[in-house]
Symmetry: C2
Subunit: 219 residues, 2 copies
């Protein structure tokens, strides 16, 4: 079982489970998802990141206790990744590290679609000299705004701009998964799109190879 | 369809198809495999690498013409990766870049199990400061020797040494896949093992998401 730490607060467990369901449907890994308390706008700047870290560490410990075999911090800024790794004995993945790792394997000119501002440092570090261009959708301030028609139009426009100069796009916010951006745009774009949740699932899968692939469907 | 370039010569097509079959069985991606001519010992030093590169580029062009949607150079030294990317329009993956990308996402102290000598530069570059230790099985000079009882014992001994100090192991030769090392040792080792073929499949999968998952079983 992969424990998924959602780095925003949401009262609807169905919403909280969405990233886990994506991973289960593609990679047949059973997942359990929990969200941090009292951060309804998620992590979108240094202050909200600092506030989230102790909550992420607490959830990491809780999910390890619950029996998770590995953990995913489901946020492209990888908040609390080092802290969670220090706190638990199981492998901990960060969605930012994962999307960057896969994007730089697929091309040499990686375009990064951020939520706001510049590319998160952990993602940038993994991209190395494959990093080519960064952009954020116009008028977006936090992840919940991506789920509006205006947010979607702005994200697609930004993606089209990256398409003109890059050979692969990394989506640097897990909110792009929630809005289904890669799924919708993959058939329409001329270059590969790497989604942070799909990428994290691909990497987590390496830890579950050899396990009964259908175990998650039997519960 | 993923085109797989085997960087050694082998007359048995069933052997040539082995890496592709691993990828198809885990990720449901259809594959086609071809091997380079006149290199029965594969690539194991600078001279054999230089000799292989034009053959790899020729195969890349051939597989693109044949209709491959992406290519994998199935060798952890990533021979001809830049040259093949320059020669074709489809994405080209290198098994070395892929195994390194996934290993550095899973841990901070990556141990590299090489075939011989030191870690290939392309793999080392991706690992960055997550690179922690490198080792090669004693008495091994080329990939075919891995398929003997002595080769297997030497590979397992080297893996056990990495286990004592690292938090993840990257297998830096696709011959370790052929011998089934990760599959056999994963349940016995206390840290994750990343296999170059399984890792390459995980990354290639990002290019096939949205395609009919069962297409490869219908042919």
């Amino acid at each position: 079982m992969l424990g998924i730490i959602r780095v925003l607060t949401h009262k609807d467990q169905e919403f909280v489970d969405m990233h886990g369901k994506t991973i289960t449907s593609i990679y047949h890994i059973p997942t359990i998802s929990r969200c941090i308390p009292d951060q309804y706008q998620g992590v979108h700047d240094e202050a909200t990141k600092a506030k989230a870290i102790p909550k992420i560490v607490a959830l990491a410990r809780e999910l390890e206790q619950y029996g998770a075999k590995a953990l995913l911090i489901s946020c492209a800024a990888d908040p609390g990744l080092a802290e969670a790794r220090a706190a638990v004995k199981i492998p901990v993945l960060g969605a930012g590290t994962c999307v960057a790792a896969i994007a730089q394997s697929l091309g040499t000119h990686v375009g990064v679609l951020n939520l706001t501002g510049t590319t998160p440092p952990s993602l940038r570090k993994v991209l190395g000299d494959a990093f080519f261009k960064e952009i954020a959708p116009q008028g977006i301030e936090n992840t919940t705004q991506l789920q509006t028609p205006e947010g979607k139009a702005a994200a697609i426009a930004a993606l089209r701009e990256l398409e003109t100069c890059c050979d692969v796009v990394a989506l640097a916010c897990t909110g792009f998964n929630t809005m289904g951006l890669a799924k919708e745009m993959r058939p329409l774009l001329s270059i590969p799109i790497v989604d942070p949740i799909e990428a994290s699932g691909a990497i987590a899968k390496q830890l579950f190879l050899g396990d009964d692939e259908n175990a998650c469907f039997e519960k």
